[in-house]
């Protein structure tokens, strides 16, 4: 960079990577590695070999030293430093896995552990007051396959099928020094075939931009699954001190690429792809967990079926949308209720009107009836009056006549005297 700095027109943001480097060293690194496999497959030895330390020693014995009745999940945290770089390494062990007679569901404690770490991270990430979030999620799971030479066991397949979308799985053939290279090749082919058949997604090394690296990666891919040998013991071979397993017929060297794939594993796991394992865990496995978890929460809502397609929104935005939908629903409900109300009122009013009309009509009828009767009465009276008047007139006439007759008589009488 000194050369660059004196270049004409050098701005300097090419220094950004250095800044990132500096800050990352200051922060330190974390990595959580899980090892799964039946006891006796040399898991602890491999860890010690990988990290060139006595992670498991007399004071801190490995899980294989303790007999477990059920599957446990145990973690050990160690701090290691190298070249100014600090790494907090967490090794997660699963003693008891596959050791029982009935191993159904022996993967469940493992799943629970992985999920609980994701849950912790999710909760920490979702707090209102967030602090430095330690990353205890499982970044890689080394799955140990027993060197039977035939193929995967049903348990192997079950485990990998259930865990492959929760964690990066790197299957390893344990105790590879019990097989000849040809047996090993055959075994590897068989395993890879079965893995493909069962559509198990093991960790894939990403292609890089540089062709050279890609060539290397392709070479590694051809050796999958890696067959490893571990050793806590250092022996001398041809004047060199190497980690290895001493047999009467020779020494199986851990770090000899012709003896086993240990070096490939170490280089890949630690020296080149440790960061990628963390990134895949964060960007893929954790995100899957999170979206499943949050989708479950929001689908507890009013309309479970409706929410299935809305996973692109945050739960809060979704609530906003639901609020808006509810407002519309309320409006509709209100107008419907209003309509029903109006209709009912109209009905009732109409009924009342009809009732009134009916009563009115009857009243009219009665009135007319009465009026008719009155008229009748009037007529009758009139007739009566007429008759009476006539009769009285007649009577008077008669009386008059009688009187006239009497007067005539009297007149006659008078004259006679």
């Amino acid at each position: 960079h000194d050369d660059m700095e004196n270049l004409e027109g050098y701005v300097g943001f090419a220094n950004l990577p250095n800044q990132v480097y500096r800050k990352s060293v200051k922060r330190g690194f974390e990595f959580t590695l899980m090892v799964v496999g039946e006891s006796g497959l040399g898991k602890s030895t491999l860890i010690n070999s990988l990290f060139l330390t006595d992670l498991y020693s007399k004071e801190y014995p490995g899980p294989s030293q303790r007999i477990k009745k059920t599957v446990q999940v145990e973690q050990s945290k160690v701090l290691v430093k190298e070249g100014g770089v600090q790494l907090t390494l967490t090794i997660v062990d699963t003693p008891g896995f596959g050791d029982a007679v009935d191993n159904s569901n022996c993967w469940q404690p493992v799943i629970n552990y992985i999920d609980s770490k994701c849950e912790d991270f999710l909760n920490a990430e979702s707090r209102v007051n967030r602090r430095q979030m330690p990353d205890n999620r499982v970044h890689c799971c080394l799955y140990f396959i027993a060197p039977s030479g035939h193929g995967l066991k049903p348990l192997d397949i079950e485990f990998m099928k259930r865990l492959h979308d929760k964690v990066n799985i790197i299957p390893l053939i344990a105790k590879a020094d019990t097989m000849t290279p040809e047996e090993c090749q055959h075994f590897k082919k068989q395993i890879m075939k079965e893995i493909q058949e069962h559509k198990i997604k093991i960790y894939e090394f990403p292609d890089t931009e540089e062709d050279e690296d890609n060539k290397l990666i392709r070479k590694i891919k051809e050796r999958m699954p890696l067959a490893v040998v571990g050793s806590n013991v250092v022996v001398e071979v041809n004047g060199r001190k190497v980690r290895g397993r001493q047999y009467p017929w020779g020494v199986a060297e851990v770090e000899n690429g012709e003896h086993c794939d240990f070096t490939v594993l170490r280089n890949m796991l630690i020296r080149t792809h440790m960061q990628d394992l963390k990134d895949v865990t964060n960007n893929v496995h954790y995100e899957n967990y999170r979206s499943r978890k949050l989708a479950a929460v929001t689908c507890n809502g009013v309309d479970g079926t409706k929410n299935k397609g809305q996973l692109t929104k945050s739960p809060l935005a979704q609530m906003e949308e639901e609020r808006r939908e509810h407002v519309m629903k309320m409006k509709k409900m209100e107008s419907e209720m209003e309509q029903v109300f109006e209709m009912k009122v109209k009905e009732k009013k109409q009924k009342l009107k009809d009732s009134e009309a009916e009563l009115e009509r009857r009243h009219e009828q009665m009135k007319r009836n009465l009026e008719a009767q009155y008229k009748e009465l009037e007529e009758k009276r009139r007739q009566f009056e007429e008759e009476k008047v006539n009769w009285e007139a007649q009577q008077r006439l008669l009386e008059q006549q009688k009187l006239d007759v009497t007067m005539e008589k009297n007149k006659k009488k008078g004259k006679i005297f």
């Binding site: 300097g12 290691v80 600090q86 907090t88 999710l122 990134d279 999170r290 009563l359």
Partner: protein
């Protein structure tokens, strides 16, 4: 070793054989080279492949040379029509550029404030700026809260650095400057710079810087401090902190000095060389802003300013970390609680509306019943009247009938009398005749 201590603040050595749930990590020695010291390189390689992004906001009055300074800093002629100052109010315009230097790709966004300080009433001038910053935070927050999210490929638009351009009056900060910076200091990293500082003499400049710094302090404005916690850069950063605010000059014009072409401004009395540290603090600014602390600016934005925004936003929406008993909420509980509250609210609204309708129906029913009652009463009255009329009629009828009967009797009696009288009259007449004959 303080770095180690700081990192493992809650660390304690565990004595038990296995610390399955424990916090502490014990230190173990390595018997060889494992190789994880390549981790920083792995991380850096990934970052380089992914590319970097940086967003600068330039706040300052018209004519302080904001665009020129950006061009000078990044050694690029950023396109842009000269800013149009036709709009009232403060406008923010942002442009994104893809730059590359060596193998490092940088997506640079420069946001400019147009019309800042041009108004008569500048009370609200800071508002569009605050709004812009908040909008970027909000966008990030929304992405972070999504159920299916893609944070690692999200284009971070949050403002990482705010260069605040101070006019080279030589006296003090303007009240607009203080007000604006006070509003921004909790939202963004503020780096105040004295613009067009070639207008100020060296002695005036020293006084000006002191005045500015003391005004900032006395008004409680938090400007960005170059970090001094990393030994690698602590010294240079703390040194530079003492030179704030940087007095800068920008120029894209080149002048021949000696046998080199340098960026400079030519005056009759001399040439101001941009990259001459005796002439101005441009080099210092470039060093601090780009070469040393760019990553820290991004980090501070994310871990401090964004977190503050997020916390306030969530609290506003009623999210809490602990329930009333101070037990921590899990995310699920929080969302469920919020959701239940929300649902309860909606249901309450529905209930209220129903109740209102029930009430209206009741009232209407009562009304109609009242009307019905009145109707019946009316007709009852009419009926009663009718009954009375009928009775009257009956009475009249009866009266008539009585009269009729009396008349009939009278008539009958009279006729009887008449017929008797006739008979008697005959006999009377006979009697009379008899008497006469005597």
């Amino acid at each position: 070793f303080h770095r180690e201590a700081k990192f493992q603040s809650s660390r304690h050595l565990c004595d038990s054989a296995f610390d399955s749930q424990g916090e502490g990590a014990r230190s173990v020695p390595l018997s060889g080279h494992v190789g994880f010291d390549s981790m920083p390189d792995q991380l850096v390689n990934k970052s380089v492949n992914h590319g970097f992004c940086f967003n600068i906001l330039c706040v300052g009055e018209t004519g302080l040379g904001k665009s020129t300074l950006m061009d000078t800093l990044f050694n690029t002629k950023f396109e842009g029509e000269p800013m149009q100052h036709s709009q009232p109010g403060v406008q923010l315009r942002s442009s994104t550029y893809e730059l590359q230097e060596s193998n490092v790709r940088l997506k640079l966004t420069i946001v400019n404030t147009i019309g800042f300080g041009d108004q008569i009433n500048k009370e609200d001038s800071y508002k569009p700026i605050v709004e812009f910053i908040d909008t970027q935070f909000e966008a990030y927050l929304q992405e972070e809260l999504k159920i299916k999210r893609t944070l690692h490929s999200y284009h971070d638009s949050r403002v990482h650095a705010c260069l605040y351009f101070i006019a080279p009056t030589g006296h003090s900060l303007k009240s607009l400057d203080l007000v604006t910076m006070k509003k921004l200091d909790s939202k963004v990293n503020i780096i105040p710079i004295i613009a067009k500082s070639d207008a100020i003499s060296k002695s005036e400049l020293a006084k000006f810087k002191i005045k500015i710094t003391s005004e900032l302090v006395s008004n409680g404005v938090q400007i960005y401090q170059f970090p001094t916690d990393d030994e690698t850069v602590a010294e240079i950063n703390s040194n530079m902190n003492g030179h704030l605010p940087f007095a800068v000059v920008g120029s894209t014009e080149e002048v021949k000095i000696g046998n080199k072409m340098v960026k400079a401004r030519q005056y009759p009395w001399g040439t101001v060389q941009v990259e001459n540290e005796n002439h101005c603090d441009f080099v210092k600014l470039r060093e601090m802003l780009i070469r040393v602390n760019m990553e820290d600016l991004r980090e501070q934005t994310h871990t401090r300013h964004y977190e503050l925004y997020r916390r306030c936003k969530l609290e506003e929406m009623g999210f809490k970390d602990t329930d009333p008993d101070s037990k921590p909420f899990s995310l699920q509980e929080t969302y469920e609680a919020k959701r239940n509250e929300f649902m309860g609210e909606l249901q309450k609204k529905e209930e209220e509306m129903r109740q209102m309708f029930v009430q209206r129906v009741k009232e209407k029913e009562a009304e109609l019943k009242e009307a019905e009652k009145e109707l019946h009463e009316k007709f009852d009255r009419l009926k009663k009247l009718h009954q009375e009329e009928k009775k009257k009629l009956e009475d009249k009828k009866k009266a008539l009938d009585d009269e009729l009967n009396i008349f009939k009797q009278k008539k009958t009696a009279a006729e009887l009398l008449q017929s008797q009288a006739q008979q008697a009259g005959g006999s009377t007449t006979l009697k009379r005749d008899k008497e006469r004959k005597k």
